[in-house]
Protein backbone atom coordinates (compact mmCIF):
# COMPACT_ATOMS: atom_id res chain seq x y z
CA UNK A 1 0.00 0.00 0.00
CA UNK A 2 2.84 2.32 0.88
CA UNK A 3 4.20 2.51 -2.67
CA UNK A 4 0.90 3.63 -4.10
CA UNK A 5 0.47 6.28 -1.42
CA UNK A 6 3.94 7.62 -2.09
CA UNK A 7 3.11 7.82 -5.77
CA UNK A 8 -0.17 9.56 -5.06
CA UNK A 9 1.68 12.14 -2.97
CA UNK A 10 3.90 12.94 -5.96
CA UNK A 11 0.89 13.54 -8.17
CA UNK A 12 -0.79 15.54 -5.44
CA UNK A 13 2.20 17.83 -5.03
CA UNK A 14 2.56 18.27 -8.77
CA UNK A 15 -1.09 19.32 -9.07
CA UNK A 16 -0.15 22.72 -7.71
CA UNK A 17 2.80 23.19 -10.03
CA UNK A 18 2.73 25.59 -12.95
CA UNK A 19 2.32 23.67 -16.23
CA UNK A 20 5.45 23.38 -18.33
CA UNK A 21 3.58 22.97 -21.61
CA UNK A 22 3.65 25.79 -24.13
CA UNK A 23 0.64 26.18 -26.38
CA UNK A 24 2.74 25.96 -29.50
CA UNK A 25 1.08 27.75 -32.42
CA UNK A 26 -0.09 30.57 -30.18
CA UNK A 27 3.21 30.86 -28.36
CA UNK A 28 6.15 30.26 -30.69
CA UNK A 29 9.07 28.28 -29.32
CA UNK A 30 12.09 30.25 -28.15
CA UNK A 31 15.14 28.57 -29.61
CA UNK A 32 18.66 28.57 -28.22
CA UNK A 33 21.31 30.76 -29.92
CA UNK A 34 23.05 27.68 -31.34
CA UNK A 35 19.85 26.18 -32.69
CA UNK A 36 20.33 24.59 -36.08
CA UNK A 37 17.29 25.25 -38.23
CA UNK A 38 17.20 25.15 -42.00
CA UNK A 39 20.32 26.38 -43.81
CA UNK A 40 20.19 29.87 -45.30
CA UNK A 41 22.53 32.19 -47.19
CA UNK A 42 23.92 35.37 -45.71
CA UNK A 43 23.93 38.85 -47.23
CA UNK A 44 27.00 41.09 -47.21
CA UNK A 45 25.51 44.47 -46.30
CA UNK A 46 28.76 46.34 -46.79
CA UNK A 47 28.82 45.52 -50.49
CA UNK A 48 25.24 44.60 -51.20
CA UNK A 49 25.69 41.06 -52.46
CA UNK A 50 25.62 37.54 -51.06
CA UNK A 51 28.72 36.19 -49.34
CA UNK A 52 28.39 33.02 -51.38
CA UNK A 53 30.69 32.55 -54.34
CA UNK A 54 29.22 29.15 -55.26
CA UNK A 55 32.55 27.42 -54.63
CA UNK A 56 30.65 24.10 -54.25
CA UNK A 57 32.38 23.03 -51.02
CA UNK A 58 29.11 22.65 -49.11
CA UNK A 59 27.51 20.87 -52.02
CA UNK A 60 30.28 18.31 -52.20
CA UNK A 61 30.31 17.77 -48.43
CA UNK A 62 26.54 17.47 -47.98
CA UNK A 63 25.65 13.93 -46.85
CA UNK A 64 22.27 14.01 -48.59
CA UNK A 65 23.14 16.01 -51.73
CA UNK A 66 20.31 18.41 -51.09
CA UNK A 67 21.89 21.50 -52.68
CA UNK A 68 22.79 22.76 -56.14
CA UNK A 69 24.53 25.93 -57.21
CA UNK A 70 26.06 27.64 -60.23
CA UNK A 71 28.58 30.43 -60.39
CA UNK A 72 28.85 33.57 -62.53
CA UNK A 73 31.26 36.48 -62.98
CA UNK A 74 30.61 39.19 -60.47
CA UNK A 75 29.51 42.43 -62.23
CA UNK A 76 30.36 44.43 -59.08
CA UNK A 77 33.94 43.16 -59.24
CA UNK A 78 34.37 44.74 -62.69
CA UNK A 79 33.19 48.03 -61.24
CA UNK A 80 35.72 47.45 -58.43
CA UNK A 81 33.07 47.61 -55.76
CA UNK A 82 33.55 44.07 -54.58
CA UNK A 83 36.52 41.83 -53.90
CA UNK A 84 34.65 38.73 -55.05
CA UNK A 85 35.53 37.78 -58.60
CA UNK A 86 32.84 35.12 -58.84
CA UNK A 87 29.41 35.21 -57.29
CA UNK A 88 26.51 32.80 -56.86
CA UNK A 89 24.09 32.70 -59.75
CA UNK A 90 21.62 29.96 -58.86
CA UNK A 91 21.38 28.26 -55.49
CA UNK A 92 18.73 25.83 -54.49
CA UNK A 93 18.29 23.75 -51.34
CA UNK A 94 15.73 21.01 -51.09
CA UNK A 95 14.77 21.48 -47.46
CA UNK A 96 12.83 18.24 -47.41
CA UNK A 97 16.07 16.39 -48.00
CA UNK A 98 18.19 18.44 -45.60
CA UNK A 99 18.98 16.61 -42.35
CA UNK A 100 20.14 19.74 -40.48
CA UNK A 101 23.57 18.33 -39.72
CA UNK A 102 25.39 21.64 -40.09
CA UNK A 103 28.29 20.22 -42.10
CA UNK A 104 27.79 22.86 -44.84
CA UNK A 105 28.29 25.64 -42.29
CA UNK A 106 31.42 24.01 -40.89
CA UNK A 107 33.13 23.65 -44.26
CA UNK A 108 32.20 27.03 -45.75
CA UNK A 109 35.22 29.25 -46.29
CA UNK A 110 33.30 32.43 -47.02
CA UNK A 111 30.86 32.71 -44.05
CA UNK A 112 28.20 32.35 -46.71
CA UNK A 113 25.88 29.78 -45.17
CA UNK A 114 24.31 29.66 -41.72
CA UNK A 115 21.92 27.38 -39.91
CA UNK A 116 19.03 29.80 -39.49
CA UNK A 117 16.45 29.65 -36.73
CA UNK A 118 13.68 28.67 -39.14
CA UNK A 119 11.92 25.44 -38.35
CA UNK A 120 8.40 25.88 -39.64
CA UNK A 121 8.44 24.52 -43.14
CA UNK A 122 5.80 22.19 -44.37
CA UNK A 123 3.95 21.89 -47.60
CA UNK A 124 1.46 19.88 -49.50
CA UNK A 125 3.74 18.91 -52.36
CA UNK A 126 6.48 16.36 -52.47
CA UNK A 127 9.03 18.86 -53.67
CA UNK A 128 7.31 21.91 -52.25
CA UNK A 129 10.21 22.87 -50.02
CA UNK A 130 12.78 23.62 -52.68
CA UNK A 131 14.00 27.06 -51.79
CA UNK A 132 15.86 29.14 -54.35
CA UNK A 133 18.46 31.88 -53.88
CA UNK A 134 16.10 34.75 -53.02
CA UNK A 135 14.24 32.67 -50.46
CA UNK A 136 17.48 31.49 -48.86
CA UNK A 137 18.82 35.04 -48.71
CA UNK A 138 15.60 36.22 -47.12
CA UNK A 139 15.89 33.54 -44.46
CA UNK A 140 19.55 34.44 -44.00
CA UNK A 141 19.00 38.18 -43.60
CA UNK A 142 16.22 37.55 -41.08
CA UNK A 143 18.64 35.40 -39.11
CA UNK A 144 21.41 38.01 -39.38
CA UNK A 145 19.12 40.74 -38.10
CA UNK A 146 17.70 38.60 -35.30
CA UNK A 147 21.03 37.44 -33.90
CA UNK A 148 23.25 40.45 -34.76
CA UNK A 149 25.33 38.07 -36.80
CA UNK A 150 29.06 38.61 -37.09
CA UNK A 151 30.94 36.56 -39.70
CA UNK A 152 32.68 33.65 -37.95
CA UNK A 153 35.96 34.38 -39.71
CA UNK A 154 36.00 37.89 -38.21
CA UNK A 155 35.28 36.44 -34.79
CA UNK A 156 38.13 34.00 -35.22
CA UNK A 157 40.44 36.79 -36.37
CA UNK A 158 39.53 38.91 -33.35
CA UNK A 159 40.22 35.98 -31.07
CA UNK A 160 43.59 35.41 -32.69
CA UNK A 161 44.48 39.11 -32.39
CA UNK A 162 43.50 38.99 -28.73
CA UNK A 163 45.75 36.01 -28.14
CA UNK A 164 48.62 37.65 -29.98
CA UNK A 165 48.15 40.83 -27.92
CA UNK A 166 48.17 38.80 -24.73
CA UNK A 167 51.36 37.04 -25.76
CA UNK A 168 53.00 40.34 -26.65
CA UNK A 169 52.11 41.90 -23.29
CA UNK A 170 53.31 38.82 -21.44
Amino acid sequence: MLGSIKGMLVTLVSTFRKPVTDQYPNKPRQVEPRYMGFPALTWDHSVGEPYCTACMVCIRQCPTQCMTATMKDNPLHKEEKSSRRKIVDVFEINLNRCILCGICVEVCNFDAIVMSHEYEHSGYERNGDRVALDGLLEMGTTYQKKTNWVPPSELKKALKDDLALKKATD
Partner: protein, 376 residues
Amino acid sequence: MTNHMDQMDIEHTQSVDMMLNMGPQHPSTHGVFRMLLRIDGEVVVDAEPHIGYLHRGSEKLCEGEQYHQVVTLFDRLDYISNFNNEWVFCRAVEKLMGVEVPQRAEYIRVILAELNRIASHLLFLGTFGLDAGAMTPVMFAFRARERIQGFFEAVSGARMMHNYFHIGGVKEDVPHNFNDLLSSLLLDLRKDVEECDRLLSFNEVFVARTKGVGEIDLETALDYGWTGPSLRACGLEYDVRKAEPYSIYNLFEFEVPVARDGDCWDRYYVRVLEMYESLSIIEQAFSGIPDGPVMALGRRLIRPPKGDVYVRAENPRGEIGVYLVSDGTDKPYRVKVRPPSFCSLSALRHLVRDTYIADAVVILGSLDIVLGEVDR
Protein backbone atom coordinates in the same frame (compact mmCIF):
# COMPACT_ATOMS: atom_id res chain seq x y z
CA MET B 1 -34.75 -30.10 -28.78
CA THR B 2 -32.53 -27.07 -28.67
CA ASN B 3 -30.72 -28.45 -25.66
CA HIS B 4 -29.93 -31.59 -27.56
CA MET B 5 -28.51 -29.61 -30.50
CA ASP B 6 -26.22 -27.62 -28.20
CA GLN B 7 -24.82 -30.75 -26.76
CA MET B 8 -24.12 -32.12 -30.21
CA ASP B 9 -22.26 -28.93 -31.15
CA ILE B 10 -20.06 -29.02 -28.14
CA GLU B 11 -19.12 -32.60 -28.85
CA HIS B 12 -18.04 -31.75 -32.38
CA THR B 13 -16.28 -28.47 -31.78
CA GLN B 14 -12.60 -28.28 -31.10
CA SER B 15 -10.58 -25.28 -30.08
CA VAL B 16 -8.32 -23.80 -32.75
CA ASP B 17 -5.49 -21.41 -31.99
CA MET B 18 -6.12 -17.89 -33.20
CA MET B 19 -3.58 -15.71 -34.94
CA LEU B 20 -3.33 -12.20 -33.59
CA ASN B 21 -1.43 -9.59 -35.50
CA MET B 22 0.16 -7.01 -33.23
CA GLY B 23 1.74 -4.11 -35.01
CA PRO B 24 3.39 -2.76 -37.11
CA GLN B 25 1.49 0.35 -36.03
CA HIS B 26 0.77 -0.48 -32.43
CA PRO B 27 1.35 1.93 -29.56
CA SER B 28 3.07 -0.70 -27.46
CA THR B 29 5.57 -1.85 -30.07
CA HIS B 30 7.75 1.28 -29.71
CA GLY B 31 8.20 1.86 -33.39
CA VAL B 32 7.29 -0.17 -36.41
CA PHE B 33 7.57 -3.70 -35.12
CA ARG B 34 5.15 -6.54 -35.83
CA MET B 35 4.46 -9.59 -33.74
CA LEU B 36 2.37 -12.49 -34.98
CA LEU B 37 0.93 -14.10 -31.88
CA ARG B 38 -0.69 -17.50 -31.89
CA ILE B 39 -3.09 -17.38 -29.01
CA ASP B 40 -5.18 -19.89 -27.17
CA GLY B 41 -7.71 -17.70 -25.44
CA GLU B 42 -5.64 -15.22 -23.48
CA VAL B 43 -2.45 -17.25 -23.52
CA VAL B 44 0.25 -16.76 -26.11
CA VAL B 45 1.21 -20.12 -27.57
CA ASP B 46 3.80 -18.87 -29.97
CA ALA B 47 5.11 -15.58 -31.24
CA GLU B 48 6.81 -14.66 -34.44
CA PRO B 49 8.51 -11.28 -34.51
CA HIS B 50 8.76 -9.46 -37.83
CA ILE B 51 11.39 -6.79 -38.16
CA GLY B 52 12.65 -4.70 -41.03
CA TYR B 53 10.01 -2.01 -41.35
CA LEU B 54 12.56 0.64 -40.50
CA HIS B 55 15.37 -0.80 -42.58
CA ARG B 56 17.26 2.02 -44.24
CA GLY B 57 20.43 0.24 -45.15
CA SER B 58 22.52 2.32 -42.77
CA GLU B 59 25.54 0.05 -42.95
CA LYS B 60 25.59 0.19 -46.73
CA LEU B 61 24.99 3.93 -46.73
CA CYS B 62 28.10 4.31 -44.55
CA GLU B 63 30.21 2.96 -47.40
CA GLY B 64 29.13 5.83 -49.63
CA GLU B 65 29.81 8.64 -47.19
CA GLN B 66 33.01 10.28 -46.06
CA TYR B 67 34.07 9.64 -42.49
CA HIS B 68 32.77 12.88 -41.05
CA GLN B 69 29.43 12.36 -42.81
CA VAL B 70 28.98 8.87 -41.38
CA VAL B 71 28.49 10.45 -37.93
CA THR B 72 25.13 11.78 -39.13
CA LEU B 73 24.08 8.25 -40.00
CA PHE B 74 25.05 6.95 -36.57
CA ASP B 75 22.86 9.64 -35.03
CA ARG B 76 19.93 7.91 -36.64
CA LEU B 77 20.66 4.36 -35.56
CA ASP B 78 19.54 4.44 -31.96
CA TYR B 79 17.66 7.70 -32.11
CA ILE B 80 17.05 7.85 -28.37
CA SER B 81 20.74 7.93 -27.43
CA ASN B 82 22.38 9.83 -30.25
CA PHE B 83 25.49 11.00 -28.43
CA ASN B 84 26.44 7.47 -27.41
CA ASN B 85 26.17 6.33 -31.01
CA GLU B 86 28.20 9.20 -32.43
CA TRP B 87 30.80 8.53 -29.82
CA VAL B 88 31.37 4.87 -30.65
CA PHE B 89 31.91 5.59 -34.34
CA CYS B 90 34.24 8.50 -33.60
CA ARG B 91 36.20 6.24 -31.25
CA ALA B 92 36.51 3.59 -33.93
CA VAL B 93 38.05 6.02 -36.41
CA GLU B 94 40.23 7.58 -33.72
CA LYS B 95 41.56 4.17 -32.75
CA LEU B 96 42.33 3.37 -36.35
CA MET B 97 44.12 6.66 -36.86
CA GLY B 98 45.80 6.65 -33.45
CA VAL B 99 44.45 10.05 -32.55
CA GLU B 100 44.60 11.25 -28.97
CA VAL B 101 41.46 13.17 -28.08
CA PRO B 102 42.00 16.29 -25.92
CA GLN B 103 41.02 15.88 -22.27
CA ARG B 104 38.41 18.62 -22.36
CA ALA B 105 36.68 16.96 -25.28
CA GLU B 106 36.64 13.65 -23.43
CA TYR B 107 35.02 15.27 -20.41
CA ILE B 108 32.40 16.98 -22.58
CA ARG B 109 31.72 13.67 -24.30
CA VAL B 110 31.27 11.82 -21.03
CA ILE B 111 28.91 14.46 -19.64
CA LEU B 112 26.76 14.53 -22.76
CA ALA B 113 26.72 10.77 -23.23
CA GLU B 114 25.71 10.13 -19.63
CA LEU B 115 23.00 12.77 -19.86
CA ASN B 116 21.83 10.98 -22.96
CA ARG B 117 21.75 7.74 -21.00
CA ILE B 118 19.49 9.35 -18.42
CA ALA B 119 17.27 10.75 -21.16
CA SER B 120 17.01 7.33 -22.72
CA HIS B 121 16.19 5.61 -19.44
CA LEU B 122 13.61 8.27 -18.63
CA LEU B 123 11.91 7.58 -21.91
CA PHE B 124 12.01 3.90 -21.06
CA LEU B 125 10.51 4.57 -17.63
CA GLY B 126 7.64 6.56 -19.07
CA THR B 127 6.76 4.20 -21.89
CA PHE B 128 7.19 1.11 -19.75
CA GLY B 129 4.71 2.60 -17.33
CA LEU B 130 2.34 3.07 -20.23
CA ASP B 131 2.80 -0.54 -21.30
CA ALA B 132 1.93 -1.70 -17.80
CA GLY B 133 -1.07 0.60 -17.70
CA ALA B 134 0.24 3.59 -15.74
CA MET B 135 -0.63 6.82 -17.52
CA THR B 136 0.97 9.39 -15.23
CA PRO B 137 4.71 8.55 -15.16
CA VAL B 138 5.13 9.29 -18.86
CA MET B 139 4.23 12.92 -18.23
CA PHE B 140 6.81 13.24 -15.47
CA ALA B 141 9.47 11.37 -17.40
CA PHE B 142 9.03 13.45 -20.52
CA ARG B 143 9.07 16.65 -18.48
CA ALA B 144 12.49 15.64 -17.16
CA ARG B 145 13.67 14.42 -20.54
CA GLU B 146 12.65 17.71 -22.09
CA ARG B 147 15.05 19.53 -19.76
CA ILE B 148 17.89 17.36 -21.07
CA GLN B 149 16.84 17.90 -24.67
CA GLY B 150 16.78 21.65 -24.07
CA PHE B 151 20.28 21.45 -22.66
CA PHE B 152 21.44 19.48 -25.71
CA GLU B 153 19.96 22.16 -27.92
CA ALA B 154 21.91 24.83 -26.09
CA VAL B 155 25.16 22.87 -26.44
CA SER B 156 24.93 21.25 -29.86
CA GLY B 157 22.17 23.15 -31.63
CA ALA B 158 19.85 20.20 -32.06
CA ARG B 159 17.56 18.34 -29.73
CA MET B 160 18.15 14.91 -31.18
CA MET B 161 20.30 14.65 -34.31
CA HIS B 162 23.28 16.55 -32.97
CA ASN B 163 26.28 15.75 -35.16
CA TYR B 164 28.31 17.28 -32.34
CA PHE B 165 30.99 14.65 -31.72
CA HIS B 166 33.56 14.83 -34.47
CA ILE B 167 36.43 12.52 -35.17
CA GLY B 168 39.20 13.89 -32.96
CA GLY B 169 37.06 15.82 -30.52
CA VAL B 170 33.84 17.77 -30.55
CA LYS B 171 32.55 20.25 -33.10
CA GLU B 172 33.05 23.40 -31.04
CA ASP B 173 33.55 24.32 -27.43
CA VAL B 174 30.53 24.38 -25.16
CA PRO B 175 28.60 27.69 -24.92
CA HIS B 176 29.79 30.28 -22.41
CA ASN B 177 26.86 29.65 -20.03
CA PHE B 178 27.51 25.89 -19.99
CA ASN B 179 28.39 25.76 -16.30
CA ASP B 180 25.25 27.57 -15.17
CA LEU B 181 23.04 25.52 -17.43
CA LEU B 182 24.51 22.20 -16.35
CA SER B 183 24.51 22.92 -12.62
CA SER B 184 20.87 23.98 -12.66
CA LEU B 185 20.01 21.02 -14.88
CA LEU B 186 21.67 18.57 -12.49
CA LEU B 187 19.74 19.97 -9.53
CA ASP B 188 16.43 19.66 -11.35
CA LEU B 189 17.27 16.31 -12.83
CA ARG B 190 18.04 14.60 -9.55
CA LYS B 191 14.70 15.77 -8.20
CA ASP B 192 12.93 14.60 -11.34
CA VAL B 193 14.51 11.17 -11.35
CA GLU B 194 13.67 10.69 -7.67
CA GLU B 195 10.14 11.79 -8.40
CA CYS B 196 9.72 9.32 -11.25
CA ASP B 197 11.24 6.60 -9.08
CA ARG B 198 8.82 7.28 -6.22
CA LEU B 199 5.91 7.50 -8.60
CA LEU B 200 6.28 4.12 -10.25
CA SER B 201 8.90 1.76 -8.85
CA PHE B 202 7.14 0.38 -5.78
CA ASN B 203 3.56 0.98 -6.80
CA GLU B 204 1.73 -2.21 -5.87
CA VAL B 205 -0.19 -2.47 -9.14
CA PHE B 206 2.94 -1.93 -11.17
CA VAL B 207 4.91 -4.48 -9.16
CA ALA B 208 2.10 -6.99 -9.57
CA ARG B 209 2.14 -6.47 -13.32
CA THR B 210 5.90 -6.81 -13.70
CA LYS B 211 7.32 -8.92 -10.88
CA GLY B 212 7.86 -12.49 -12.00
CA VAL B 213 6.84 -11.72 -15.57
CA GLY B 214 9.16 -12.54 -18.41
CA GLU B 215 11.79 -14.25 -16.31
CA ILE B 216 14.95 -15.38 -18.02
CA ASP B 217 17.93 -17.10 -16.47
CA LEU B 218 21.46 -15.93 -16.93
CA GLU B 219 22.57 -18.82 -19.15
CA THR B 220 19.79 -18.24 -21.68
CA ALA B 221 20.30 -14.50 -21.61
CA LEU B 222 23.97 -14.95 -22.37
CA ASP B 223 23.15 -17.39 -25.15
CA TYR B 224 20.95 -14.81 -26.78
CA GLY B 225 23.77 -12.30 -26.57
CA TRP B 226 22.15 -9.97 -24.10
CA THR B 227 24.16 -7.09 -22.77
CA GLY B 228 23.58 -3.94 -20.83
CA PRO B 229 20.89 -3.39 -18.21
CA SER B 230 18.85 -6.36 -19.40
CA LEU B 231 21.74 -8.73 -18.73
CA ARG B 232 22.62 -7.07 -15.44
CA ALA B 233 19.03 -7.68 -14.34
CA CYS B 234 19.81 -11.41 -14.63
CA GLY B 235 22.63 -11.13 -12.14
CA LEU B 236 25.85 -10.70 -14.08
CA GLU B 237 27.85 -7.60 -13.32
CA TYR B 238 28.99 -6.80 -16.82
CA ASP B 239 29.40 -3.24 -17.97
CA VAL B 240 31.79 -2.26 -20.75
CA ARG B 241 32.62 0.90 -18.85
CA LYS B 242 34.03 -1.30 -16.07
CA ALA B 243 35.07 -4.42 -17.98
CA GLU B 244 37.04 -2.58 -20.63
CA PRO B 245 37.20 1.07 -19.57
CA TYR B 246 37.27 3.37 -22.55
CA SER B 247 37.72 7.11 -22.75
CA ILE B 248 38.14 8.43 -19.20
CA TYR B 249 35.71 6.17 -17.36
CA ASN B 250 38.51 4.79 -15.19
CA LEU B 251 38.73 8.19 -13.50
CA PHE B 252 35.24 8.05 -12.08
CA GLU B 253 33.81 6.07 -9.23
CA PHE B 254 30.48 4.46 -9.93
CA GLU B 255 28.61 1.31 -9.13
CA VAL B 256 27.14 -1.13 -11.62
CA PRO B 257 23.61 -1.91 -10.45
CA VAL B 258 22.79 -5.60 -10.59
CA ALA B 259 19.53 -7.44 -9.93
CA ARG B 260 18.94 -11.15 -9.48
CA ASP B 261 15.68 -12.49 -10.88
CA GLY B 262 15.84 -11.31 -14.48
CA ASP B 263 12.16 -10.44 -14.66
CA CYS B 264 10.54 -7.30 -16.04
CA TRP B 265 10.65 -5.42 -12.76
CA ASP B 266 14.38 -6.12 -12.36
CA ARG B 267 15.07 -4.92 -15.88
CA TYR B 268 13.14 -1.79 -15.01
CA TYR B 269 14.74 -1.14 -11.66
CA VAL B 270 18.32 -1.68 -12.88
CA ARG B 271 17.72 1.15 -15.31
CA VAL B 272 16.34 3.40 -12.59
CA LEU B 273 19.42 2.77 -10.43
CA GLU B 274 21.63 3.38 -13.43
CA MET B 275 20.20 6.88 -13.76
CA TYR B 276 21.49 7.72 -10.27
CA GLU B 277 24.91 6.33 -11.17
CA SER B 278 24.97 8.39 -14.36
CA LEU B 279 24.10 11.48 -12.36
CA SER B 280 27.04 10.80 -10.06
CA ILE B 281 29.37 10.32 -13.07
CA ILE B 282 28.21 13.62 -14.53
CA GLU B 283 28.76 15.41 -11.23
CA GLN B 284 32.29 14.00 -10.98
CA ALA B 285 33.08 14.92 -14.58
CA PHE B 286 31.59 18.37 -14.16
CA SER B 287 33.77 19.12 -11.15
CA GLY B 288 36.92 17.99 -12.94
CA ILE B 289 36.44 19.41 -16.42
CA PRO B 290 39.73 20.97 -17.57
CA ASP B 291 40.38 23.87 -19.93
CA GLY B 292 42.05 23.46 -23.26
CA PRO B 293 41.36 22.60 -26.85
CA VAL B 294 38.43 20.42 -27.86
CA MET B 295 39.65 19.21 -31.23
CA ALA B 296 42.75 17.21 -32.05
CA LEU B 297 42.51 17.26 -35.83
CA GLY B 298 42.46 20.34 -37.97
CA ARG B 299 40.00 20.90 -40.75
CA ARG B 300 41.27 18.34 -43.16
CA LEU B 301 40.00 15.29 -44.95
CA ILE B 302 40.01 12.22 -42.73
CA ARG B 303 41.87 9.35 -44.32
CA PRO B 304 42.62 6.56 -41.86
CA PRO B 305 45.31 4.05 -42.76
CA LYS B 306 44.45 0.64 -44.19
CA GLY B 307 43.23 -1.79 -41.60
CA ASP B 308 40.30 -2.83 -39.48
CA VAL B 309 39.25 -2.10 -35.95
CA TYR B 310 36.55 -3.21 -33.52
CA VAL B 311 35.36 -0.84 -30.85
CA ARG B 312 32.68 -1.38 -28.27
CA ALA B 313 30.93 0.85 -25.83
CA GLU B 314 28.19 0.79 -23.26
CA ASN B 315 25.04 2.26 -24.72
CA PRO B 316 21.89 2.76 -22.66
CA ARG B 317 20.55 -0.41 -24.25
CA GLY B 318 23.67 -2.50 -23.95
CA GLU B 319 26.94 -3.09 -25.68
CA ILE B 320 27.24 -1.52 -29.10
CA GLY B 321 30.09 -2.65 -31.30
CA VAL B 322 31.44 -1.11 -34.47
CA TYR B 323 33.62 -3.07 -36.82
CA LEU B 324 35.26 -0.71 -39.26
CA VAL B 325 37.35 -1.69 -42.26
CA SER B 326 39.31 1.01 -44.01
CA ASP B 327 40.98 0.71 -47.40
CA GLY B 328 42.90 3.93 -47.01
CA THR B 329 40.45 6.18 -48.85
CA ASP B 330 38.23 8.89 -47.45
CA LYS B 331 35.26 6.54 -47.24
CA PRO B 332 34.95 3.43 -45.05
CA TYR B 333 35.14 0.11 -46.86
CA ARG B 334 32.77 -1.60 -44.47
CA VAL B 335 31.00 -0.62 -41.29
CA LYS B 336 29.34 -3.33 -39.24
CA VAL B 337 27.26 -2.44 -36.25
CA ARG B 338 26.53 -4.86 -33.46
CA PRO B 339 23.32 -3.45 -32.03
CA PRO B 340 22.31 -4.24 -28.46
CA SER B 341 18.56 -4.09 -28.95
CA PHE B 342 18.63 -6.60 -31.80
CA CYS B 343 20.09 -9.19 -29.44
CA SER B 344 17.55 -8.36 -26.72
CA LEU B 345 14.75 -8.67 -29.22
CA SER B 346 15.89 -12.08 -30.41
CA ALA B 347 14.90 -13.52 -27.03
CA LEU B 348 11.35 -12.25 -27.37
CA ARG B 349 9.89 -15.50 -28.66
CA HIS B 350 11.41 -17.38 -25.75
CA LEU B 351 10.05 -14.83 -23.29
CA VAL B 352 6.47 -14.36 -24.43
CA ARG B 353 5.62 -18.06 -24.79
CA ASP B 354 2.94 -19.18 -22.31
CA THR B 355 2.24 -15.70 -21.03
CA TYR B 356 -0.85 -13.57 -21.36
CA ILE B 357 -1.19 -11.11 -24.22
CA ALA B 358 -1.12 -8.20 -21.79
CA ASP B 359 2.13 -9.56 -20.34
CA ALA B 360 3.64 -9.89 -23.80
CA VAL B 361 3.24 -6.14 -24.15
CA VAL B 362 4.98 -5.59 -20.82
CA ILE B 363 7.82 -7.96 -21.77
CA LEU B 364 8.38 -6.23 -25.07
CA GLY B 365 8.42 -2.90 -23.26
CA SER B 366 10.92 -4.14 -20.68
CA LEU B 367 13.44 -5.05 -23.37
CA ASP B 368 13.69 -1.35 -24.26
CA ILE B 369 14.25 -1.77 -27.99
CA VAL B 370 14.75 0.95 -30.54
CA LEU B 371 13.72 -0.18 -33.97
CA GLY B 372 16.05 2.24 -35.71
CA GLU B 373 18.90 0.20 -34.32
CA VAL B 374 17.31 -3.23 -34.79
CA ASP B 375 16.56 -2.73 -38.47
CA ARG B 376 19.38 -0.34 -39.32
